[in-house]
């Protein structure tokens, strides 16, 4: 009822524009081994500031591993990663992450989870509350502010997670299959709301998904990864104009691109199996 699109970005804490401006990402010749298992083989990827890049690929191809490297949780076996020209050494709020697994803090309420980053940054109380409320509204959890995560469904928890990361206002936002667990309607709504914010903010986004349609609807560019070992197979520029809307989903060009990418994905995973 009355799901008028809101614009949370208007309620964002103002002022610290400098630390929130998007930066580019440079992944150069990155290889990653776990023991003898070569998970990423010579991956290179260049992302412009403010670009929305979608990573797709069969599960197990190293998408999460690559995201963890960009976040700074792990160090590559070889190669370098740079964000805004600076070597990535450790995790930080300039690269916030929405994890594939449940990462919401169970001891905090929905409200406390979402305001977490703002509080750490020392945003003033009223400003923080307004921003937090708008983010909660964005993910459709109004009325559940005081709920604990254990009282929410898996999909609701994921939405808390997304709101928490966006609230951090990172320069690069890393998202690991954030909408995979959501039902179709919630998913579509979240995608639209998220694009809305992103267009106002122009954060650099690396978005992992195995949903080709989602990648086409959201991204500026789609990077297709292959398995065994994980590597980049192809890059596709997504030509659709922004702002994108419900109509974009039904464009014939989108369906064509979808078919092409699906074909590539099939070949890549079939090749992986044959080996």
């Amino acid at each position: 009822m009355g799901r008028v699109p809101t614009t949370p970005s208007q309620a964002l804490p103002q002022g610290s524009d400098e630390r929130q401006s998007p930066v580019g990402l440079e992944v150069s010749d990155v290889s990653m081994k776990f023991g003898e298992n070569l998970v990423l083989d010579n991956v290179s990827l260049s992302v412009k500031p403010g670009e929305f890049t979608c990573l797709i690929g069969a599960s197990g191809c190293g998408k999460s591993t690559l995201l963890n490297l960009i976040a700074g949780f792990t160090k590559p076996t070889s190669g370098t990663l740079r964000a805004g020209g600076e070597l990535i050494k450790a995790p930080g709020p300039e690269r916030a992450m929405v994890f594939q697994d449940d990462a919401v803090f169970p001891w905090y309420t929905v409200h406390q989870n979402v305001e977490y980053g703002l509080k750490l940054r020392g945003v003033r109380r009223e400003e923080r509350h307004a921003a937090t409320k708008s983010f909660i509204k964005m993910v459709g959890l109004e009325g559940r502010e005081k709920s604990y995560p254990s009282q929410l469904s898996g999909g609701m928890r994921k939405r808390v997670d997304v709101a928490r990361a966006i609230a951090v206002a990172p320069r690069i936002l890393l998202m690991d299959e954030p909408f995979a667990a959501l039902d179709a309607i919630t998913k579509a709504r979240m995608q639209e709301e998220f694009l809305d914010i992103w267009e106002k903010r122009q954060t650099t986004v690396i978005f992992v998904t195995h949903d080709i349609e989602e990648a086409l609807f959201l991204g500026d560019r789609i990077v297709l990864m292959g398995t065994h070992p994980g590597r980049i197979l192809s890059e596709t520029i997504v030509p659709f104009a922004r702002p994108r809307s419900e109509k974009t989903r039904t464009m014939p060009e989108l369906q064509e691109l979808r078919a092409t990418l699906l074909q590539q994905l099939r070949i890549s995973s079939a090749g992986g199996d044959a080996k």
């Binding site: 709020p93 992450m97 803090f105 980053g117 750490l120 469904s153 990361a165 990172p170």
Partner: protein, 295 residues
Amino acid sequence: MSSHPDVRVLQPHEELAPDAAASAPAVRPWTRLRIPRAVQLVLVPAAIIAVWIFLTHAELVDEVYLPRPDTMWDRVVTLRAELWEAILTSGSMILIGTLSGGLAGIFVGLLFGFSRVARDLFEFTLDVIRPVPIFALIPIFILWFGIGRTPQIALVALGVFLILSFTTIEAVRNVARIHVLAAMTCGADRLAIYRTVVVPSILPQILLGVRFGFIAAWGLDVAAEFSGSVHGLGFFMIVRGQYLDTAGVSVAVLIYCSMAIIVDRGLRFLSRRLFPWSPRGGHEDLAGEILGGRG
């Protein structure tokens, strides 16, 4: 189709509430038999007491083995000054010992979590000391501290310290990695991670540790008062035992039990109030439901 009782049309943007799934165990419990609350709380204890009264009043069991209820009541009345004094002594000793030992244990556990240096220095030593049976230390404590309250408090404190340091260290170790990482990408530094992730996530386990600490403390206190003390409930029991006054001993046992139960219930209540988010905070236990145990 829509007349099927289990089919419900989900409204847009609605997901099945987790509660709906959790409240109905997927696996059928072994037995559907549910004992009413009144039977659990009143009837069963009343039946046991009735059997007790019958056995003792019909003189089927000698009073040295099983005292009569009215004899016990008589002891409460005639020895009430002595008992009251003993309760205060033992109670305060347990409280002081548990609080000091518990706080020290929690502190050490938190320190281990925060400082690798502390861990490297003391972890091995603590691991070695932990399994030592504390009761075996009673004679040494008496030699060190003499007879009186000091060795007793020290014994309780040591026992509770070991339990709580262990609980806290394990709890810190089990803090979910993903929560720490999430905090880092939200901008938390070391201290903030400690304050907003480590401490809140281990608190329920620490409170559980405190409950175990108290349970150990009652036993330690009795043991300490049995051997080398001239006051407290344990000493009272030894004296009454020497008179072959089973009723007197039983009164002391009952007092110990009541105190222990009240404290444990209180802490459990506190845990539920303080940590509503935690499964340990005392929500239903689904596995227990299915397997026939109690939550």
